[in-house]
């Protein structure tokens, strides 16, 4: 890497794309307790829809709307059989869905270029006569624009009465249905929104990288997104974005560290092993994540808040 700034900007762009994925998973898992272990499938479908449409010379706006629609519909269709059951059934269905989707994309060469994938995807915003660095900055502006939009959409939803229903479903489905809420309907809607958001992130990813192939969408991607949400703090959208930055930074620095220290390890293996150890450590010692969910913020007098913080720290020390 000749230009360290470029490496940094690339990391920032990646973190933005993964931030969108992380927010979408947070919406599903953090607020509604839907264990979607197939995030990579929707990310991949979004990327491929954008890539295929782009090779047919459609503009990015059309591609991303189509990506959102298709991933949303696939999300609903595949989640229907599992949503009425416990969360482990959804997890199993989704983790296997990712494999089946990859199987289809690898085998149907006429549709998606098989194992070679699709290359030459046009970027979303083309302004002729710019340097590489300027184009990268435009990309980052686009990605962060969408990230911020997704953040505000999610915040609006979860702070509304609708969001309170979701949190009730997360805590106890029986209570939600006792109050006459159709739990199943809410879950399907959340899944559709979450999947569509991942599809959008996939579209951004495809136009940013310019090429897609099935090997980019390994289950490790899903695991990284889960890592971001769990590390950042479930049910906290800022935490999800923070988690995306931290995991991206962690993965990049583990790669750099390997280069500088000249360790006799494969960078991918090292990265995955360290990520796995980190996630297990977080689940062990800080299961609520770095940023906790804000329940009734800024209520009560100051000494009450301090007292509750003190109790939190005490209980945390006792547990670890």
């Amino acid at each position: 890497m000749a230009d360290p700034l470029m490496y940094l900007l690339d990391a920032v762009a990646y973190a933005g794309i993964f931030g969108i994925l992380s927010i979408s998973l947070n919406f599903e898992y953090g607020y509604t307790n839907l264990a979607n272990f197939g995030k990579v499938a929707f990310f991949m479908i979004g990327a491929y829809v954008t890539a295929i449409m782009s090779s047919l010379k459609y503009p990015f706006i059309v591609n991303s709307i189509l990506a959102i629609l298709i991933t949303g519909v696939i999300g609903v269709l595949t989640s229907l059989p599992a949503l009425r059951l416990k969360e482990d059934f959804l997890a199993i269905t989704m983790i296997t869905l990712g494999e089946v989707m990859k199987l289809i994309i690898k085998n149907e060469e006429w549709l998606a270029g098989g194992v070679w994938g699709i290359s030459g995807i046009a970027p979303a915003i083309v302004i002729p006569g710019l340097t590489f660095r300027e184009r990268l900055i435009i990309q980052i502006a686009l990605i962060y624009g969408i990230l911020i939009a997704c953040y505000f959409i999610c915040e609006l939803i979860v702070k509304s009465p609708y969001g309170r229903v979701l949190k009730t479903i997360r805590e106890d489905e029986l209570i939600a249905s006792t109050y006459g809420k159709n739990v199943f309907k809410y879950k399907v809607q959340v899944f559709a929104v979450g999947s569509a958001m991942s599809g959008l992130a996939g579209g951004l990813f495809a136009q940013y990288i310019g090429t897609v192939n099935p090997y980019m969408f390994e289950p490790t991607v899903t695991f990284a997104i889960w890592m971001m949400v769990i590390l950042g703090g479930p049910a906290n959208n800022l935490g999800a974005i923070l988690g995306a930055f931290m995991v991206e930074g962690f993965q990049r620095s583990s790669r750099l560290l390997k280069d500088y220290l000249n360790l006799p390890l494969d960078p991918v293996n090292l990265q995955v092993m360290l990520t796995a150890i980190l996630v297990i450590t977080v689940v062990f010692y800080r299961p609520q994540g770095l940023l906790k969910e804000k329940i009734k913020p800024y209520e009560g007098s100051l000494h009450k808040i301090i007292a509750s913080k003190f109790m939190e720290v005490k209980s945390w020390i006792r547990r670890s």
């Binding site: 307790n33 264990a35 969360e87 059934f89 269905t93 199987l103 695991f223 297990i280």
Partner: protein, 295 residues
């Protein structure tokens, strides 16, 4: 002209391999109440350990396989003792247990990739072919058949006739009641996890010897093992027994149909996905739960 007897033979052999691979997953799922996604990596682990002893250290084949199976059992027991038992006692949620099991799986797989390399390895054994009537087979496939039948029979004896087996079934049924009647949950869980990982390792060795050894060997049958677990009914040994042969048969018939339709034979694992989804829609509690209720 399709040799249907050969298709049947292949189905039975695949059913045996799936059965060995899945028993542990289903039993530990029933006992500890969460799907262990690292189970696929016990399969990989067993295969690589056999490779280590057989090809690298050049040991006798029976000794190598035995050592690999023992090490797999050790791996399963260790992951329960070090990771899942403390997590459960801390009151970790179902999702946290699943996430950490995925993490453990990646840790094992990438550790193996780091140690043995990510490429294709081979056991360098050439199996002679045997023809029985219209069926062509190899000593390895016959060995799989015999081993699986012996193991299935001994598991049946274990689960129905011995105290330990009865304790396993009682714990899977109702952990609180089992604990109240003096069953040591820890001992039972540890035994089940070790046994399950040992059988998974065994199936991994067979899978690797049948074709070749790659780090994804376990992950590739993850879909099948979960389809069998759900179809058979979580925690039910007899369910696994029936479901693995159903899956073996439908996959092999599926391949015949796929080639007839002119589609890639890679889609055979999509058969498992269809079975999984159909189970969730039609009978989420699995096949054996039905039998239990009627009895």
């Amino acid at each position: 002209m399709i040799n249907w007897l050969q298709v049947l033979m292949n189905s039975i052999v695949w059913g045996c391999m799936y059965m060995l691979a899945t028993v542990g997953l289903s039993l530990s799922y029933g006992l500890s109440r969460f799907p262990n996604f690292a189970h696929a990596e016990y399969i990989t682990f067993g295969a690589y350990m056999a490779f280590l002893f057989l090809v690298v250290s050049n040991l006798d084949i029976y000794l190598a396989v035995g050592l690999a199976v023992v090490l797999s059992a050790f791996m399963g027991g260790l992951s329960y003792l070090i990771l899942f038992k403390p997590l459960k006692s801390r009151g970790a949620s179902l999702v946290h247990l699943m996430v950490s099991s995925i993490g453990l799986g990646f840790l094992i797989r990438h550790f193996l990739m780091q140690t043995f390399g990510g490429g294709i390895q081979s056991f360098r054994i050439v199996w002679p072919t045997i023809s029985i009537g219209p069926i062509v087979t190899t000593p390895l496939l016959l060995a799989i058949l015999i081993v699986a039948l012996v193991i299935a029979f001994s598991l049946h004896i274990l689960l129905t006739k011995t105290k330990l087996g009865k304790a396993i079934r009682a714990t899977a049924d109702n952990p609180e009641l089992a604990a109240a009647s003096g069953i040591d949950l820890n001992k039972v869980s540890l035994f089940t996890w070790s046994l399950g990982a040992a059988l998974a390792g065994f199936s991994g060795i067979f899978l690797a010897m049948r074709s070749s050894l790659v780090p994804l060997i376990g992950w590739k049958v993850l879909l099948q093992t979960f389809a069998i677990t759900l179809l058979g009914g979580v925690g039910s040994f007899y369910g696994v027994l029936i479901a693995s042969f159903i899956l073996g048969l439908s996959e092999n018939v599926g391949v015949v149909i796929l080639t007839w339709l002119g589609l890639s034979a890679d889609y055979r694992s999509a058969v498992a996905f269809i079975i999984l989804v159909a189970t969730l829609i039609l009978k989420p509690e699995g096949l054996m739960a039905v039998a239990k209720r009627r009895a």
